[in-house]
């Protein structure tokens, strides 16, 4: 029984149905959001009388172009606590509306424009949704080619996150500025992973994380390039590929292409070993300095992972068999609640998803949930909520921002009415907990139930066994550490798929074809692409009739994680994680506060939006800083 909150029960054979007796099974009573501190003069007066170091700090976008994220906090600098948070997507992109009435295949190319970084995954999720709707599946080589595209896209994405985005927060300049005492300690702390990554002292490692000039930063840049070179061999272009189509990939591959990809993939064996050792050392060092670093960005280990990398002989593109082919994926699907895997069923994962808009700039489309809605069940007969993506209507309704009412263009996606995070870490976590019996057989990966063992051929570094273990605590350091191990996890999958590709190429015949021919259906169909992005969960739900899209819904990792509060009173994952973050930065005066711990917390999720996680008091990146005062009047400093 994977659901605790939704009105779904299972019979002895595991078939899901609505619990009997409930007149309005999905309806709910909204829990009012707490009154924001700034809207409560009495509370402000009390706080200020007690503590003059309470202040509002907003992290606004540097550039307001892409679906940007702003983050609002109220912090108590004396007690080193975050008191209030609100995560705000500041721009509506409208893809769901743009896609209405178009040929479903257009969505492959249009939706890839949703992101300037990882568009390939949108293209593939869209192709998967089309395949389900059209009733087609690619030949095995087409699936393997898609797996290779995804692998090298992740090998592009992970170094970007670790080297260029998260790494600088742990670099010499950042640590010296925010915690000079930690830097002093780093100067005298030896690294446990020296034999793998080559750094004798933590200070040396931190120096090489320095933005723009540090060797590790530049190395991350190099490895993004290497993976992108591999991607375009099949995808044609990146990040907006030209060859992803329903039914496979619209290009050919020969041995020379595979060799070119292999030459690049094997370089990630040592890079992955090195990166894992670096993030192991960073976590160990900070935990040793102060165990409260384990609480940076902490929240319950509630995660959702649709899985990806299809088995070329198991995947058939049907919803009917989605549980079966889903479990054969190199990254199997999974929902993790409080650290435990509660389902590996793709259809139950799908059935548990709802999107709420009480705190988002959209109009409610389902009323109280009692009215007729189009899809009360999925194609297998499992119950669906009126707030499920297949039932969702995107109705933008911009209003003034109110932290108590509506404040974001992100909806609040929930699974079983629980806020979920997602990322490379949910991928490896679900795979690790799937266990030795259920996890697919691979010469390079072994799921133990509590860890993922990765066996890769020796390159230049010592061939130490790699094992990512499910952590005892969950927070920013563990997100980054898991992401580092996912370089190896991904490289192993790429290596496995390359060997499959060589075999298929050698055997020739229908299995070696890259795509399958099809005719566009004209009748009513629905489909869903259940896939992943470097940053986690990605689904595209579509409904079509007369050859055009009637509804198209994209649900991205950042929608899950940057979500505002839900109607049940629960914060979104960023909000929850920052609220639990202790302020361990070393500052004497409030004006010295840099917010590094908040930044580390948010960045560990790898926000796919230009977040103003660039907090500096001297310039344009902090838009407003308001010091609470007894009278409730705000002193506003505008920075431009």
């Amino acid at each position: 029984m994977c659901f605790k909150n939704l009105p779904i029960e299972f019979d002895a054979a595991g078939n899901a149905s609505l619990k009997p007796g409930a007149a309005n099974p999905y309806s709910y009573t909204e829990v009012p959001a707490p009154t924001p501190i700034e809207d409560d003069p009495e509370r402000m007066r009390e706080l200020f009388a007690r503590n003059g170091a309470v202040r509002r700090v907003d992290f606004d976008p540097v550039t307001r172009v892409a679906g940007a994220l702003a983050f609002h906090t109220v912090v108590d600098l004396e007690n080193r606590q975050v008191m209030e948070t609100a995560s705000m997507a500041t721009l509506f992109r409208g893809y769901e509306i743009i896609l209405k009435g178009r040929d479903p295949r257009d969505a492959i190319f249009i939706s890839s424009r949703a992101c300037g970084v990882c568009g390939g995954v949108h293209a593939t999720a869209s192709a998967l949704a089309c395949e389900m709707a059209f009733g087609i599946k690619p030949p095995p080589m087409g699936i393997v080619a898609r797996n290779l595209l995804l692998s090298v896209e992740y090998l592009y994405d992970h170094p970007i996150h670790l080297g260029l985005l998260a790494g600088p927060d742990f670099s010499e300049p950042a640590v010296r500025e925010t915690n000079p005492e930690i830097w002093e300690r780093a100067l005298n702390t030896r690294c446990e992973g020296e034999v793998t990554h080559g750094y004798a002292l933590m200070s040396d490692l931190m120096t090489d994380l320095t933005p723009l000039t540090g060797k590790l930063y530049l190395e991350g840049l190099y490895y993004t390039r290497l993976a992108r070179e591999a991607y375009v061999l099949i995808g044609g272009k990146y990040p907006h590929p030209q060859t992803v189509v329903p039914g496979g990939v619209s290009t050919t591959i020969d041995a020379s292409d595979l060799n070119e990809i292999m030459l690049r993939v094997v370089k990630y064996f040592d890079y992955g070993r090195k990166t894992a050792a670096i993030w192991d050392d960073l976590a160990s060092f900070f935990y040793e300095v102060n165990p409260k670093y384990k609480e940076i960005g902490t929240r319950p280990a509630n995660m959702i992972e649709p899985g990806q990398w299809d088995d070329p002989y198991a995947y058939d593109g049907t919803y009917k068999n989605a549980d079966a082919w889903g479990r054969e994926r190199w990254a199997p699907p999974g929902v993790i609640r409080d650290g435990e895997l509660v389902t590996t069923s793709l259809t139950m994962l799908n059935a548990g998803v709802e999107e709420f808009v009480e705190h988002a700039f959209y109009e409610e489309w389902a009323g109280s949930g009692n009215e007729y809605y189009k899809h009360p069940t999925d194609p297998n007969g499992n119950p669906l909520s009126p707030w499920h993506p297949w039932n969702k209507e995107t109705i933008p309704k911009p209003t003034a921002t109110s932290w108590k009412e509506k404040y974001s263009w992100s909806t609040a996606p929930r699974w079983d009415r629980t806020a979920m995070e997602t990322g490379a870490y949910s991928r490896i976590w679900a795979a690790a907990q799937t266990g030795p019996e259920a996890f697919r057989k691979s010469p390079y990966l072994h799921s133990t139930g509590t860890s993922m063992q990765i066996f890769l051929p020796k390159a230049e570094l010592p061939n130490t066994d790699i094992e990512w273990k499910i952590p005892e605590t969950w927070g920013a350091f563990e997100r980054n550490r898991a992401r580092a191990y996912c370089i190896l996890y991904t490289a192993a999958i790429a290596y496995d798929n390359l060997q499959l590709a060589y075999k298929l190429l050698k055997a020739g015949g229908p299995d070696a074809r890259m795509s399958t021919p099809y005719e566009m259906p004209k009748d009513h169909r629905i489909g869903v692409g259940l896939w992943g992005a470097g940053r986690g969960y990605l689904t595209h739900h579509l409904e079509m009739d007369n050859g055009v899209l009637e509804n198209y819904q994209i649900l991205t990792p950042s929608t899950w994680m940057a979500s505002p509060k839900d109607p049940f009173g629960n914060p979104g994952p960023y909000e929850e994680a920052v609220l639990a973050t202790p302020l361990l930065e070393n500052y004497e005066k409030p004006e010295d506060f840099k917010g590094i711990d908040v930044l580390r917390a948010i960045r560990s999720f790898d926000p796919c939006m230009p977040c103003t996680t660039h907090m500096h008091m001297d310039g344009r990146t902090v838009s407003r800083e308001i010091i609470s005062c007894a009278c409730g009047a705000d002193e506003v400093h505008e920075h431009h």
């Binding site: 976008p61 540097v62 550039t63 307001r64 172009v65 892409a66 679906g67 940007a68 721009l91 509506f92 992109r93 409208g94 893809y95 509306i97 743009i98 249009i110 424009r113 992101c115 300037g116 970084v117 568009g119 970007i160 996150h161 260029l164 985005l165 600088p168 933005p211 723009l212 000039t213 840049l221 993004t224 390039r225 992108r228 070179e229 990146y238 990040p239 907006h240 790898d606 926000p607 796919c608 939006m609 230009p610 977040c611 996680t613 660039h614 500096h616 990146t621």
Partner: protein, 157 residues
């Protein structure tokens, strides 16, 4: 001589799509060393692309950027290759790798990673409408012939 014209911006974001619209429009006229590229992707990838190609003699960036001018205002200038401080460059790298595409980010990050030739021109237009959807604001529509001609003229060395 090799010239690259880059249309910078997002499709389906009204005036922010103008740069790409211009390169889409001019692309059929590519010839004799004049290339047009849709730069709806981030500058780290662009930098890597540039590093793999034979050097260009000139790069022209065209796109919309909000600088508080009258909507439709066209500003054309030769890039002076002056970079902001390291902190700001890293902020822009961070923006770029987390999904933001903008004229300033693109030029600053590309320059910081030493990907640009000496001869770089920028053609900007002030957007009037930056919301979602297709089509452009009236102010920008009125300036499309002028900005197209400006970009085209910069392809002639």
């Amino acid at each position: 001589m090799r010239v690259l014209v880059c249309g910078v911006g997002y499709r389906f974001l009204r005036d922010n799509a103008l740069g790409i619209h211009i390169t889409d429009t001019l692309a059929p006229q590519a010839s004799n060393g004049v290339e047009f590229e849709d730069l709806g992707y981030h500058p780290v990838g662009f930098t890597q692309n540039l590093n793999e190609r034979p050097a260009y003699d000139r790069i022209v960036f065209v796109g919309a950027i909000n600088r508080g001018r009258e909507p439709g205002t066209i500003t054309t200038y030769k890039y002076d290759h002056v970079l902001p401080d390291v902190q700001e460059i890293q902020e822009r790298v961070g923006d770029s790798v987390s999904g933001s595409i903008s004229l300033d980010n693109l030029i600053i990050v590309s320059e910081a990673f030493k990907a640009l030739p000496e001869d770089v021109w920028v053609v900007e237009i002030e957007p009037g409408d930056e919301t979602w959807g297709e089509g452009f604001s009236d102010e920008v529509v009125a300036k499309i012939p002028e900005i197209t001609e400006t970009v085209w003229s910069l392809t002639r060395l």
